[in-house]
């Protein structure tokens, strides 16, 4: 067994602990470097993961498996974490708890990465919880801010509830099959089908993962939490831990519980339609940008969920590619909002809701870079060509047609047309509604993060081939056989 395969996770673990320890001995002023340190660590981990692309291995008696799927999602998580860390450098400036913030973020990332490579439900559950616990704390990071606390509270309460549901469901799976190893479950899932408990277990699992993916009706915490918690954290939640739920669901349902396909396929069909429609329709009338983004990410989750329904290699590839693109787009959008919020608050500490749409007026003049990248992100989310969003929609929706789910594709298409309305509204506020406020200097860390995200979004849109290829490779892990 080769520990090198775990190098990224180990690097992150070291980084997290180092940040925590060094932070203890640093004066508040100097804590800035912790951010750089964390970002560096994440960067190294990312480099290691990329360098080990294509390796196939299993370790710790098959409880972990390194394959195209896990590698792909690890990259997704690391990228999001990187954006998160860089953007947070500015956010945590002058905060005495900086070290906690960064180490929590790093540990959350580790959890997500282990979920990505878990090959055993037990490991998966533990990693899942690790990520969740860390993010609970992050969500409530602004202890003195009621919104932040409320967000954390709701997130935590619903989170632990669904953790319980999840665990309960898992216990049944274990009981029926007598094992926790995912391949083994797949082999022994026979009597799950016959036994009605099987159905209960499936739905419980759906609820457990659906909470993280934020599928209607398990989504209700999401808008509140995304709106309440610090914007950078929202970016981590929306772009990172959401994907964790998706990859976990991929593994558990498509690999382990393929025998129960009939049941969960239908469940996901219903949830997908509900989620995308609800998300888009409610987003139409939002005035808080973060909340609007939250609902939009509901809708996006709905699209991705279509992959479970269509269940062809191409659809899964599309879903996986969509996960990556959404990581860039959504993280970028939230970070842009974070920049705006930072700007607003630095002008006036006690603004009621700094992410209100009105604060975006004339942003094109006030913060040109931020505004431009925000425009790119929202157009990408809306699926305008030459962006990551379009590319992944193209693959996902087209595969839906291919598999004959025309009705589903039509609903999805109409939804994404609808979404254009509220995305375009943001652009309208930024460019067409004038404001007397003057130009402000844009904080560098935010800008760097934004630029990285923009590059990502456009790269997937223009130079799509490698991304599509890797997504398809990852999909083959779930469903062997060509497309």
């Amino acid at each position: 067994m080769d520990l090198m395969l775990l190098a990224p996770e180990l690097t992150l673990a070291v980084t997290g602990l180092a940040v925590l320890l060094i932070g203890l001995f640093l004066p508040v002023g100097a804590k800035k470097m912790l951010g750089y340190l964390a970002s560096l660590g994440i960067l190294v981990a990312l480099a290691l993961t990329v360098s080990s692309l294509g390796t196939e291995a299993t370790m710790f008696n098959d409880t972990l498996s390194i394959d195209a799927l896990s590698q792909f999602f690890k990259i997704v998580f690391l990228v999001v974490a990187l954006l998160f860390a860089i953007a947070s450098i500015k956010y945590t400036e002058g905060n005495s708890h900086t070290e906690e913030f960064f180490s929590l973020g790093v540990f959350a990332t580790i959890g997500m990465m282990f979920v990505a490579s878990a090959n055993d439900i037990m490991v998966l559950f533990i990693a899942f919880e690790l990520a969740s616990l860390a993010t609970y704390a992050l969500a409530g990071f602004e202890k003195s801010n009621q919104k932040s606390l409320e967000a954390a509270m709701k997130y935590f309460m619903i989170g632990s509830l669904s953790a319980a549901l999840l665990l309960f469901g898992i216990s049944f799976i274990y009981g029926m099959t007598g094992t926790t190893s995912i391949p083994a479950i797949a082999a022994g899932a026979g009597n799950l089908v016959t036994n009605p408990i099987g159905l209960v277990a499936v739905v419980l699992l759906v609820a457990g993962f659906g909470f993280k993916i934020a599928l209607v009706p398990f989504h209700m915490w999401a808008p509140d939490t995304y709106q309440g918690s610090p914007s950078v954290v929202s970016s981590l939640l929306a772009a990172g831990s959401k994907k964790m739920g998706i990859v976990a669901a991929f593994k558990v349902f498509i690999v382990a519980l393929i025998a129960l396909q009939a049941e969960w396929q239908m469940v996901f069909a219903i949830l997908a339609v509900l989620t995308m429609t609800y998300g888009n329709v409610v987003a139409l009338s939002q005035t808080s940008v973060k909340r609007m983004l939250a609902y939009s990410s509901l809708a996006q989750a709905g699209y991705i969920t279509m992959a479970f329904v269509v269940l062809t290699p191409m659809a899964l590839g599309g879903g996986i590619l969509y996960a990556l693109s959404h990581g860039f787009m959504k993280a970028g959008a939230f970070i842009a909002t974070a920049a705006v919020v930072y700007m607003v608050l630095s002008e006036n500490r006690d603004v009621e809701d700094p992410d209100h749409l009105d604060n975006f007026k004339g942003l094109g003049k006030r913060m040109p870079v931020t505004a431009l990248s925000m425009t790119i992100f929202v157009f990408a989310l809306a699926g305008i060509p030459l962006t990551a969003g379009y590319m992944s929609k193209f693959v996902l929706f087209s595969s839906t047609i291919q598999a004959g789910f025309v009705w589903l594709a039509v609903i999805a298409i109409l939804n994404s047309a609808l979404s254009l309305y509220y995305y375009a509204r943001v652009v309208k506020y930024m460019y067409f509604i004038p404001t007397d406020a003057g130009k402000v200097s844009e904080p560098l860390p935010y800008t760097i993060a934004l630029v990285i995200a923009v590059i990502g979004v456009l790269a997937i849109g223009f130079w799509s081939e490698p991304f599509v290829y890797w997504a398809m490779e990852a999909a083959k892990v779930l469903i062997p056989g060509g497309m």
Binding site: Q402, I413, L420, Y421, Y431, E465, M472
Partner: protein
């Protein structure tokens, strides 16, 4: 040999980006002029080397892009696209000249958007890969959306959003159709490909007739909303009216809907499960929009809005002619697109001039302008005559070809269209009489005639209208070649 099509598409886009960084109006407009003139020169070069006796795609360029999905960077132009590229290349420099002396906020963005639109539109005409086609197709939306939202009239926001969403939905439906075609072909050949010629040729082998019709209708819907024709036109009057003059002209240059009809729909038509039904749909929509648009134009009080509705009526000819399925009618419909582009661009320029100098476009508030603006009056009379289909001007060639050609197969629809001709004449003449002739309305204050640049740009396009009215062959021949090829397909299928 040099990748001329790529240049024609990319130069405007590139210059659009550069223009964003210019500081003053002077720099911006010069950049724009340089870019458009460069495009014009290249296009003329291409036009000269274009062989109008063959219907194949010429100046092809093909590079792999996303092989795993069968996506290629594939450009090429045939007798359907060439005239439209020519149209854009010709009109745009004069559009720049027309706006030469205007003062407006953020000129750099303004000219950048104009260039971006030109690049995108030409891209649609040059794309031979559905992926690329759709990209350019959508790309045309964004600059126009900004154009309307920033420099538009009072109702600009509503108009912009409406146009954006409405046509976006249509594009997405079209995209569904493309998907359907893509995968049906994929299943047959086993290899993914979005190559337009390939897919068009494989359409006929699709097994299920329902699938064929669904694909066809989805594509058709996408195209006719963009044209637009009754009853999917309601985005158009708002957008055309609220847009700034340059924006309206760009809208007119946006002939991608009709292009799709000829390039995609007609080759598929004979192989659909129920061709005659499809023909009926197209013919009916075409004929109805001809007469409907005419009546609506008659009811308008705003000059620009009247022009917008007249465009609905004129675009009806495109669909009717396409459904006529006689080489004369099809080529006439193509020529209608070309001449309509020329005519409408002057019409909108005139509306813009009147609006700026007289401060209103309400026809009844105007009156006797001809006394104050003789130059404009001459050009306007000529253009209005062209628009109502006066012989000797380009509009007539198109209309008579469409009517005569279509009558062979669709007599009843043509008769409807014929009824509309009187109405068409009526609203043009009434507008002329009320706005330009009669006693000068003193309330309008001081009226100045069009300046040198405007006279030049409008005048030259007007001369082109006359020229093509007497000698359409330079563009009509290649159209004929392609339409004959299309019709031969029909003959094979006995449609």
């Amino acid at each position: 040999m040099l990748p001329i099509l790529s240049l024609i598409v990319l130069i405007p886009l590139l210059f659009a980006a550069l223009t964003l960084f210019t500081k003053t109006k002077e720099q911006a407009r010069v950049m724009a002029l340089v870019a458009t003139v460069a495009v014009l020169v290249l296009t003329l070069y291409m036009y000269i080397n274009f062989d109008s006796t063959i219907a194949d795609n010429q100046f092809e360029e093909i590079y792999q892009w996303v092989p795993s999905l069968g996506i290629n960077y594939h450009l090429g132009v045939d007798g359907i696209g060439m005239p439209l590229i020519l149209l854009n290349a010709i009109v745009l420099p004069f559009l720049i000249l027309f706006t030469w002396n205007d003062d407006r906020k953020a000129p750099n963005r303004f000219y950048a958007l104009i260039l971006a639109t030109e690049g995108a539109v030409i891209g649609v005409f040059a794309a031979l890969d559905f992926f690329l086609f759709y990209i350019f197709w959508e790309l045309t939306l964004i600059p126009l959306f900004f154009m309307v939202s920033i420099w538009g009239g009072p109702g600009k926001h509503h108009a912009a959003i409406k146009f954006f969403i409405y046509t976006h939905i249509a594009s997405l439906v079209m995209l569904l159709g493309i998907f359907g075609l893509y995968f049906s072909a994929w299943e047959m050949t086993g290899t993914p490909s979005l190559d337009i010629p390939a897919l068009l040729s494989q359409f006929q082998f699709i097994g299920s007739g329902v699938m064929k019709d669904l694909i066809f209708l989805a594509l058709l819907f996408g195209f006719i909303v963009k044209i637009p024709v009754f009853p999917f036109h309601s985005w158009q009057p708002d957008a055309y009216t609220e847009a700034p003059t340059a924006g309206s002209v760009l809208f007119v240059m946006l002939k991608i809907g009709g292009y799709g009809i000829f390039k995609v729909i007609l080759p598929l038509l004979p192989f659909t499960a129920s061709p005659n039904l499809m023909i009926t749909i197209m013919a009916a929509l075409g004929a109805v929009s001809i007469i409907y648009g005419a009546f609506l134009a008659l009811a308008q009080s705003d000059l620009k809005r009247m022009v917008a509705y007249s465009s609905v009526s004129h675009m009806g000819y495109v669909l009717l002619g396409a459904a006529g399925l006689v080489s004369l009618s099809v080529s006439g419909a193509m020529f209608q697109q070309f001449s309509h582009g020329l005519i409408m661009s002057i019409m909108f320029m005139a509306c813009g001039v009147i609006n700026t100098t007289a401060g209103t476009r309400i026809i009844n508030d105007l009156g006797g302008l001809a006394q104050k603006m003789p130059k404009l009056a001459v050009i306007m009379v000529l253009t209005f005559m062209a628009s109502l289909g006066l012989p000797g001007l380009s509009g007539f060639i198109a209309e008579v070809s469409v009517l005569a050609g279509s009558f062979v197969n669709l007599p009843s629809y043509v008769i409807i269209a014929l009824l509309a001709i009187v109405i068409t004449a009526a609203y043009h003449i009434w507008a002329l009489q009320r706005a330009m002739f009669g006693v000068f309305n003193e309330k309008l204050g001081t009226i100045v005639d069009i300046n040198g640049y405007q006279t030049l740009s409008m005048g030259i396009i007007a001369i082109l209208i006359v020229y093509f009215g007497w000698n359409p062959s330079p563009v009509l021949d290649m159209m004929l070649t392609n339409s004959e090829q299309i019709i031969s397909l029909m003959a094979v299928m006995g449609v």
